[in-house]
Symmetry: C2
Subunit: 176 residues, 2 copies
Amino acid sequence: MNPTDNSPLTLAEAKAQFVHTWGVSGASWGVSKTLAQVHALLLVSAVALSTEDLMEQLKISRGNASMTVRELLDWGLIYKELRPGERREYFVAEKDMLQVTRCIIRARKRRELDQMKRSLDQLAALPGDPANAEYRAFHSALTDIQQLATVSDKLLNRLMHAEKSWFWDKFIKLFM
Amino acid sequence: MNPTDNSPLTLAEAKAQFVHTWGVSGASWGVSKTLAQVHALLLVSAVALSTEDLMEQLKISRGNASMTVRELLDWGLIYKELRPGERREYFVAEKDMLQVTRCIIRARKRRELDQMKRSLDQLAALPGDPANAEYRAFHSALTDIQQLATVSDKLLNRLMHAEKSWFWDKFIKLFM
DNA sequence: CACAATTTTCAATAATTATTGAAAATTGTG
DNA sequence: CACAATTTTCAATAATTATTGAAAATTGTG
């Protein structure tokens, strides 16, 4: 069955393990397991895969495959590959990991951080009596969190818009 | 009822809104809503709170409060405050947001990134035929992901062990 | 060590989230 | 425009995760 049976894993097994691990990781970061697994499968695939392929390889339903693929397109993590004369759509993953990082940062920043900042701005503006210890504690916690949010925001913006060379240069030099 | 009724929100309402927002954010990052809410409540509280206080203010059960508090202690995000002559335990949050960031990075890195790196190392070592396009695609995706994981790991280590002044200095100067 | 105060555990249940799959919609082609 | 291929939608259901609450365990004190 396996032409290199003395090797610990076949390529298919290794891919399956990667898909599994990526799925578990995704799940613990609030991403659906299927989304992460479809992404993983496309990341390590040499060829574009159709919805049919995904359904078969991950044993998921047509509906699930369709919705998951659409969401990954939204994130910008995969692309459609249209083949002339074929109705069926194929998908390939963005393989450049800096680009992948950017897509994830952009999506999550917009959904979480930007919304959080809006809420913080509103709450930090709350007027109150500075002689009231409860008020002082609230206000000071809020401005600290705001400051962190602001710095994180700027940092993430920089990362998102960084040139590839800038990113690796600055970061590797600074941190390694 | 509210002594400053012309103000848009009372302090209690503002706290409640913060607790709610923090809870929603936590939930979308794979943390239980209750965990995030207990953390939020303690972050903006001027005084230490008991399990009883948490149960009452967040309307959660004793069991839930107990488990959540224990998990936050594990993360290092809150501390016990023992009062002489009292059996009951009180809790205060770590208020320094750099410290909070460190705790979160440390916990998540250990749980997710370190485990992912172990899996990647194993899979990237898979021998195979370089003439096989499927194998080449798999191997190259894996080494790219490994490189990202390694750089992320070093970056996070730096952040985790950074002095407060170093962190703000370097980062604010670099990114603002 | 008995007791009361408090915390922890964990099986049962509730709440939430993910998934299915059939029906409807869309798309391209003769 | 009819038809077949394919995708999308979404109500129903399954699977997962969070929460409860009562019983057991722990802790400190007389």
